[in-house]
Symmetry: C2
Subunit: 137 residues, 2 copies
């Protein structure tokens, strides 16, 4: 084996675009699109994109955001929160506010989910009832 190819949990592992696509069950087109909008910036070997462990992590965060209904722009903002590039005090305070905002949204989602789960439980119970009283006709 040469040098790339990634064993176990090597932190310096590298990935091709189709490897990532397969792993996360998305298309290469999507991955390139995320790059187009500035969410990923893999290094290159000639023309070919090479993704590091960090890129892979960012991709996971993007997809997590998508599952929560975030836009790519939203995800970008949140992911940027994780990197402390902000040297300015005002920016830091703004960032803390933004974090609080996101937390509020997430708490709203938690509430929504619990209500929806209850609704689904009731719906399922109704189904099972209907099956019992209806199963032997």
């Amino acid at each position: 084996m040469a040098k790339a190819a990634a064993k176990g949990s090597d932190t310096s592992a590298e990935y091709s675009i189709s490897q990532l696509a397969k792993e996360f069950n998305i298309t290469t087109r999507s991955i390139r699109h995320y790059e187009d909008v500035g969410l990923l910036s893999p290094t290159r070997s000639g023309q070919t994109r090479i993704y590091t462990q960090a890129d892979r992590t960012r991709l996971r965060l993007i997809l997590r955001g998508k599952r929560l209904g975030l836009s790519l722009e939203d995800s970008r903002e949140i992911i940027d929160m994780y990197e402390p590039g902000k040297t300015n005090v005002d920016q830091l305070k703004k960032l803390i506010d933004a974090i609080q905002l996101q937390r509020n949204k997430l708490n709203q989602q938690l509430d929504d989910i619990s209500k929806l789960l209850k609704d689904l439980n009731r719906a399922e119970a109704d189904c099972i009832d209907a099956l019992k009283t209806n199963g032997n006709q």
Copy 2:
């Protein structure tokens, strides 16, 4: 006062489109759009739409779905689960499967949210740290 206008928690209350729009802070265009795609079907008084308590509830469910990142089509399916129009046994079983699927998605979301909240907490802590060590320069 005539007959409409809705007091307290009168179950036979009626609403105009702009009343609902104002209450839920959306546009009338959106409400009509939800009707276009079959999510609402208000009665009419002449040309004018009249929304019942049930319509209002459906609208609330639609918006809850949106907050969770569901498409209108997804919401339609879920809301349809609540109404036991299904007389067929096969349909009931399919419905139970669909409910389970939704539950899985919601549990995934719960997991995503808890992770995201942790990430945000760490990010905030980092900000606060940066503010302390950086505040007096």
